[in-house]
Structures are given as C-alpha cells and as structure tokens.
C-alpha cells in the first residue's frame, strides 16, 4: 500500500468553501493534489445520494464543506444541510459504512489555510486507511448467480 494515493472528492458550496479554496490558491498555500472539487450553489443543494455515488465511482474519501453556521449566502441552506448530514451520518454509521472517510467541515471564504489543512489531513487519514473497496465493487456481488448471496445470508 506504500504507493497508494487516495482519491478525494470534495463537495463544496460556491460562496464560502469554493472561495476559500480560491483564496488558498491566491495565497499559494500548498496542499495535496488528491482532491477534486465539485461546485454547488450551497451545501443545501448537495444530495446525500451523491456521496454514495462518489464512493461507488471510486472515491476513497469525501470532503463536504460549506459556509459556517449563520454565514450561508442563502441564509439557511447550511442549517438544512447540517440536519441532513446528522441523519445521513447516523444511517451510514448504522449500516457500517466507514464514515471516517467523510470529512464534513465549514470553511469560509477567508479560510484558505483551513481549506488546505482540511485537505491535507483528510488525504493523510485516507492514505493510512487504504483504498475504499467495501462499496465500489458491490455492483458485482449478486450478479448472475444466487449462490453467493444466499450463502452470505445463511452464514
């Protein structure tokens, strides 16, 4: 696993974290290149299914980040998102997903350094955890035969 480089996808809001990442850039703060940012208008827009889709497509870790409470460009999207993540995380934990691979954070447009730190810490953590294959290869399990599935259940 020595040369494993984690693949991280970041779901960020346009107004705070995307701008915070821009600031990290204009400040030339260096951080790990493993992260790919996908831009949303607001954390309130981020569908929980997208997190599952990211894991399916091969992300080893996820960052979800938006405006600090009270700073939402749309006044309340992040509060709704916070509730969504509280529920969703509870479910993922209960089902046994490795939620340690998902970093939730508030990064404001002024927190370029925090953004870099969040990315670096997430990358380091995921690098230690190794690739996440629990989930992404499940589209093979149960195809074509009933035996492996029923074997699993009766075990």
């Amino acid at each position: 696993m020595s040369n494993f480089e984690p693949k991280i996808i970041a779901f960020v809001c346009n107004w705070c974290t995307y701008a915070g990442a821009d600031l990290a850039g204009t400040s030339r703060i260096k951080y790990a290149p493993n992260v790919r940012i996908v831009r949303f208008p607001c954390t309130g827009r981020i569908d929980f299914m997208l997190l599952l889709k990211a894991l399916q497509t091969g992300a080893d870790g996820i960052i979800v980040s938006g405006c600090h409470p009270a700073d939402c460009h749309y006044t309340a999207g992040n509060y709704h998102a916070r509730r969504r993540w509280i529920i969703f995380k509870s479910l993922l934990d209960f089902v046994g997903f490795d939620t340690g691979r998902i970093t939730f954070s508030w990064v404001s447009a002024a927190e370029g350094a925090k953004w870099a730190q969040i990315v670096n810490e997430t990358v380091d953590k995921i690098r230690d955890l190794g690739p996440y294959t629990d989930y992404s290869n499940l589209n093979k399990l149960g195809v074509g035969t009933i035996t492996e599935v029923l074997n699993a259940r009766t075990a």
Partner: protein, 267 residues
Amino acid sequence: MQELHNKIKSILENGSASLFIAYQKSREGKITPTFITKPEQSQKAYFGDDCKQNLAVYIHKQEVKNFGKVGIFANIYTLKSLLQIYAENQIRDDYLKVVTINPNGAIVEFANFMEIENYVNENKPAPNPEDMERVEKLSNLSREERWDYWLNELSTCIKCYACRAACPMCYCTKCTVDCNQPQWISTPSHSLGNIEWHIMRAMHLAGRCVECNECARVCPMDIPLNLLTVKLNDTANIEFGQQAGLKGELDYALSTFKVDDKENFIR
C-alpha cells in the same frame, strides 16, 4: 364486533362513505383487507390484535380514490400514518371517515384530523422494545460487523419493492428509483443497487416513518428493514425532538432547523 359492523353499516347507509376499508378473517384464519361497498356486507369486518396490515396505504390508490368518500378502520399505526400523510397534504379531511377501536374496546369515530391527533397522542404506542434492542445490539457491534450484517441482509433483496408498496409514506408519483435521467439508484438487485435503494428509502423515511413495521413484515426475504427507519427516527427524535405521525401539521426534521442544532463531526 357487532358494534363495528353497525358503525360501518351506518356510515355506508348515511353516505359519509361509499367504500369502507377494514380487515376480514378467512376460514383458515388469514387476516386480509376487505373493501365493503354495501351496508349488508358490514359483518365481514373483523378486528383483533392480529390485524397488522397498515390499511392507510390504500388511501393513495387511484382505484380507491375513485370511490370518492372512503371510510377506513384504522389500528393505531394506521391512525399515525393517516395523520402523517394528512400533514403531508395527501388527504382531504372531508373525504375520509376514520373509525378505530379504543383500548377499552369502544368504537371511536373521528370527526376530523384534530380528533385523530388528540387520540393518537393519548394512545401513543411505545417503541417496539424488540426493535430498539436489535438496533441497540447492532449499534454496539464493531463497524465491520455491522457492515457484514447489513451487506448480508441487503444482498438478499430481490427488489420486489414490497417495502415501498406496503408503506403509507411511500406515495410518490414517481419514486427516485424510477428516475433514470440520471439513474440515481441502480435498479438491478445486485448488492450495490440494493444498498443504494435501502439507504435512500431509509433517508426518505427518516422522521416520517410511523414505525408500523410493515416493510419488514411484507419482505419476502425477511430483511429487518424497519431497523433502518427505527434507527433514523430515533436519531431525529434525539437530535431534533421530532417524531412522525403525531401531528396534523407538518413537522419534518429535514425541512426545518434550529440555529443551535448540535453535531460533533463538522469541523
């Protein structure tokens, strides 16, 4: 039972409903729903502790709606469901006549949803201790053990969608799983598609599930699906103090917020 028959009879006779949905018991002892349209059929109705099916699910059915005004015999979970879907704008007060039997064995006919709300709050069923225990037990396992448990259980799902069909809260015109532009949920019943489906189902029911446990009862593969929604209801209750099926006004954990909602994982 006679009292129930008389009540149904009078409801059908006086025109407050042209269809009455109740339970019946077959000769072999099987409990099934029955759809009474004629007053003289009223004695088909049966009620006992063995009447588990959540009849509220029929309220969404087009062919039931076609009857116009409908009467329904409701156990406590059906009442909770009716209240919840009323809050979600799916029923009109004047199109539904609801009857139940209270714990003392008396017939109660509700004039409106306010009365149902009061009744449900007075007769709130306690959480099923068995389910709570199973949730607790699962929560105490290691993450890997939980994953193995659910992967095994959910891998057996054949995607017959009985869980969806039996649930009164699953009334969407078009379910997410039927959206294919984009295909949010893999429809094949491989393990990935199954887990996606059940996670989405649980998320959509979080804070809306009335814990009637129909989803688990109807599952041909005996997957304890209800544990997922029971768990999320518990989370919604603990974190946001919100419970489903107790209010005629919308009270949904995920469409409201408090500025000081607490969490311990957002950095």
